[in-house]
């Protein structure tokens, strides 16, 4: 993929999922002040206790790879094959995500490895405009020189 795949071109798949922060774009969920559970996407009311006040919170950009798969088939508007996974976020959320920067997937990816969120193109709309969303990639560890 080209180096500018994380640039800001193209519309977000769902504006309300995202928020700008000092760390760049982050996902936002809601946290219940009573039962302390965090939900994504944001909820109108806490589905657990139906009681507490919900506060908008940014979600961690890092998580662990719970499981992954290579999807050879898929929706017609997506480039195939593509790699998918569930990411365990520290907030207790299992997040479905497209995985990126993991070629060859069956050598690079390991269950429970550290992953980080990036924003990038996942597909194009019918007019050829990019649609961007969150994706996860293996955390790049610094190479000692």
């Amino acid at each position: 993929m080209s180096g500018n795949q994380y640039s800001g071109k193209g519309k977000l798949i769902e504006e309300r999922w995202f928020k700008d922060s000092p760390e760049g774009m982050v996902l936002v969920g809601s946290r219940c002040e009573t039962c302390k559970k965090t939900f994504f996407p944001k909820k109108l009311v806490c589905p657990d206790c139906f009681d507490g006040e919900l506060k908008e919170v940014p979600l961690s950009k890092k998580g662990k790879l719970h499981t992954y798969a290579l999807s050879v088939m898929g929706p017609s508007d997506m480039e195939k094959p593509y790699v998918i996974g569930f990411i365990d976020l520290p907030e207790g959320i299992k997040l479905f995500a497209i995985l990126t920067d993991c070629d060859p997937w069956d050598e690079v990816l390991k269950i429970d490895m550290e992953m980080e969120m990036v924003i990038g193109k996942i597909k194009e709309d019918e007019y050829g405009n990019s649609i961007r969303s969150y994706k996860f990639r293996p955390v790049v560890t610094e190479v000692k020189r």
Binding site: I13, A69, S71, M73, Y82, K94, F96, A97, I111
Partner: protein, 387 residues
């Protein structure tokens, strides 16, 4: 609750029926079930029609009335039921509930679907479009994707192998080859399954159920009445329906719906997994069947791979599973799938399953999971049937 018996069953062959109307398919199944039960249409007091999404690809709305009018079954309450891939089982369960609760004495349930009238890419876009609860579908979340993710985690935690996954298909297609109603008529070898086209790694094409057209139906009545109509009643010992909880914090190697439904069903029947002689489980993908073995208590957690490898779910094993050939052979004819599982179970318990017959079968379990999003199925229905 009153004891309820299944007295009549009927179904079409599953496969491609694009030359017929969906009404014809429903009529064929219902007529067979009504004749098998030896009842008159006017004896039936209520009916439920399972149909998943025919509104996307043809006549589906008030499909119950459209079908049953052809048999002179009018006037009575008739309702269409939808619950994802568990649609047929939910239609059956509504009929059971009405009889068990005393609201009526004789009821009809059927399921019907005609999926081959649209092409597969249109169908996929309908399915992925359905996942908008969390927009996962918009990001490439598909049914094979979910069951591949499930398989991968299971392989990692419990050492389940690609070969064990493929063995599910080999077993089910072997049974399917003995079922004249099966869509795929031939058995396959382990090598053929492993070397087939990859759909979603580790699942190859034969590990993903095909779609299809067809219908299945059953007539239910009270135990007392059943004595007048049949010498081979099959009783509903348990009927349980649950919805998903979509857990976030647990390992994705099970379905919470399965576990809770199974526990409730065994409790209701006063039976345990050790009493089950055979089962029809929702094998939409090979990995699903392995996980269901564990969730339903047929084996310990993590032992599902070994369960298939040691032949414990095969003929002569501890609990033969999917003697009909399962979804992997018959195809997943969504609205009809659950009903089709039930009629296979009734055939087995009556001793009418021909070359697939499990000798001496007395108690059978039917499991149908419906709809999926996030980490769970939306619905799970389990029936325990006994003779």
């Amino acid at each position: 609750m009153r004891e309820v018996a299944i007295v009549g069953i009927g179904g079409t062959k599953f496969g491609s029926h694009t030359d017929r109307s969906i009404r014809d398919l429903g009529v064929e199944a219902c007529l067979k079930a009504i004749r098998d039960a030896n009842v008159k249409p006017k004896d039936i007091e209520i009916a439920y029609a399972g149909n998943f999404a025919q509104w996307e690809w043809g006549q589906g709305l008030f499909i119950g009335q459209v079908v049953l009018r052809e048999l002179g079954l009018t006037k009575i309450p008739i309702t269409r039921v939808e619950n994802g891939c568990a649609t047929g089982s939910c239609a059956f369960r509504e009929a059971w509930y009405k009889v068990a609760s005393g609201a009526c004495d004789i009821a009809l349930a059927f399921g019907v679907e005609q999926m081959k009238v649209v092409d597969s890419s249109k169908m996929l876009s309908i399915f992925t479009g359905l996942q908008y609860a969390e927009r996962e579908g918009d990001m490439g979340f598909t049914a094979p994707g979910l069951f591949a993710l499930l398989a991968r985690r299971h392989m990692e935690e419990f050492g389940t192998t690609r070969e064990q996954l493929a063995m599910v298909t080999v077993k089910n297609r072997k049974f399917g080859a003995l079922n004249p109603d099966s869509q795929l008529p031939n058995a396959v070898t382990l090598e053929e399954v492993l070397n087939a086209r990859m759909i979603c790694d580790p699942l190859t094409l034969p590990q993903c159920c095909p779609r299809g057209d067809g219908a299945a139906a059953a007539v239910l009545m009270t135990k007392e009445l059943a004595k007048r109509y049949t010498s081979t009643p099959v009783y509903v010992a348990a009927s349980v329906q649950v919805s998903g909880t979509y857990p976030d914090e647990e390992s994705f190697t099970f379905f919470d719906t399965d576990v809770r439904a199974a526990k409730a069903a065994y409790e209701m029947a006063g039976l345990g997994p050790e009493d089950i002689d055979l089962a029809e489980v929702h094998d939409c993908f090979s990995s699903a069947e392995i996980v269901h073995y564990e969730d339903l208590g047929f084996c310990e957690k993590g032992e599902g791979g070994r369960f298939i490898e040691e032949g414990l779910s095969d003929r002569g094993g501890k609990i033969p599973v999917n003697t009909s050939g399962g979804l992997l052979s018959k195809g997943h004819v969504i609205g009809a799938t659950g009903m089709s599982q039930i009629i296979e179970m009734v055939r087995q318990l009556r001793g009418q399953a021909g070359k697939r017959q499990v000798q001496g079968a007395k108690v059978g379990l039917q499991h149908n999971a419906g709809g999926f999003f996030h980490t769970d199925t939306a619905c799970c229905v389990i029936h325990i049937l006994k003779r």
